[in-house]
Symmetry: C2
Subunit: 249 residues, 2 copies
């Protein structure tokens, strides 16, 4: 099974054997962490960069009163903040969702990678895509209704998982509870449940037993106002559909 990080980066540009080998060597010491465990906590000094090889994790922030926001999801191939070392402390926490396999990359390991200009560019691309995902998250939370958010979330995840061979347009494994989804989308778990029922009833998607089945991807994209260009996948991502974002004025 190929390394999902290599696989993802190759959506940006082809790597040579040497570059692939370099990453594979760095990925030899896999660390396993059980589900629902903090990997890094807010306030910690950044010691390493985590790369997910298998399993799901998330970034989150939580208030003293219990409210919690999941800021981003990590699926296989995802890397967090390669330049985090310039910071004194973490302003958020990282936690596993499922049992997970991760690699802890040291600052030296990152330096080694970025010595290759192509890998350096690939890492920039990756973190720019991560930023773009965050921006789109802001758009979702700020402008999309609950149903639109859910639809958008499913669309995005479909493409991200396809990029590492873990899903198709017809569906994928989604190991989140409805509470997790609620904390991602800024709505309550009850409302997630009701919205999911509506989407099932209208023949869009079905979520059962950690398996998401997409019955009508086109309709899902339409509901979500989903424009995949922000994911910058493939080398020619500038195709704006008409149902989609357009400029002001």
């Amino acid at each position: 099974m190929t390394n999902p990080f290599i696989r993802k980066l190759e959506n940006f540009c082809a790597l040579n054997d040497e570059e692939r080998y370099l990453i594979e060597v760095l990925c030899r010491h896999v660390r396993r962490v059980e589900a629902r465990t903090d990997i890094v906590q807010q306030g910690d000094e950044p010691r390493c960069v985590n790369l997910v090889l298998a399993g799901w994790a998330c970034r989150y922030k939580q208030f003293a009163d219990g409210r919690r926001q999941i800021i981003s999801l990590f699926v296989p191939g995802d890397l967090c903040d390669p330049h985090i070392f310039v910071m004194r402390s973490m302003d958020h926490s990282l936690a596993t969702i499922t049992p997970i396999s991760i690699v802890r990359l040291s600052e030296e390991a990152i330096d080694t990678i970025t010595r290759s200009p192509r890998l350096q560019a690939a890492l920039w691309w990756d973190s720019l895509v991560t930023s773009a995902i965050h921006r789109e998250g802001i758009v979702s939370l700020g402008q999309r209704s609950a149903a639109e958010r859910l639809a958008h979330f499913f669309c995005e995840l479909s493409l991200r998982l396809q990029a590492v061979g873990l899903g198709t347009e017809a569906g994928y494994e989604l190991p989140l509870t409805q509470q997790d989804i609620a904390e991602m989308l800024g709505i309550t778990n009850v409302h997630v449940n009701r919205t999911l029922r509506d989407m099932r009833d209208s023949g869009l998607v079905t979520l059962r037993g950690r398996q998401l089945t997409i019955h009508d991807f086109t309709a899902l994209k339409r509901l979500a106002i989903f424009d995949p260009s922000y994911l910058h996948q493939g080398r020619e991502s500038v195709q704006l559909d008409s149902n989609v974002l357009m400029r002001a004025n």
Copy 2:
């Protein structure tokens, strides 16, 4: 008047004369753009990195049906995406809010800057802070009520403007319309107006004629659940108040 970008970076680390001079030279060709004008549009190929010297601008995305989300604000000293050049196209637009002075930095200019290890680290710091601001924006949109969002927004802006000498804890110039604020915070302009009235009535802040007056910064922070550590200002930003974020479980 000192360059706000230099001033901001020096919140991260002191620069030497050579480094300051390098930036000042790159800032010689100032471009002026009038208010309410797109600087870069979604779909454009990235040609340069914009650095704001004076005036306010924003990043936004807009739907075909008119809904618009302002994703981030640029105040003097703010730089957008120094590594944007690896991307094929912009997934969002940039627009001015006020008349503005900006500098367009080419890829070579960025390369020149990052040849200095300290400036390279400072640029990383700056973009990590930008990411952190986006993450906190996600938390606001996902978990905070309208009043909490507004309060948080005012607190964050106070610190960011203080970092470049454009505000104090007592207030600052805020050249946004209530509609702009609404599009930042994911609520309607009508609700912004009502919430602003409530905050004025309860003696927290007053916003009149583009001037924000903060009457009770402590109470504002409390309402906002504001923990400034995500801004990573100063060299010792690890001070978590008790009213503030804490870990799960």
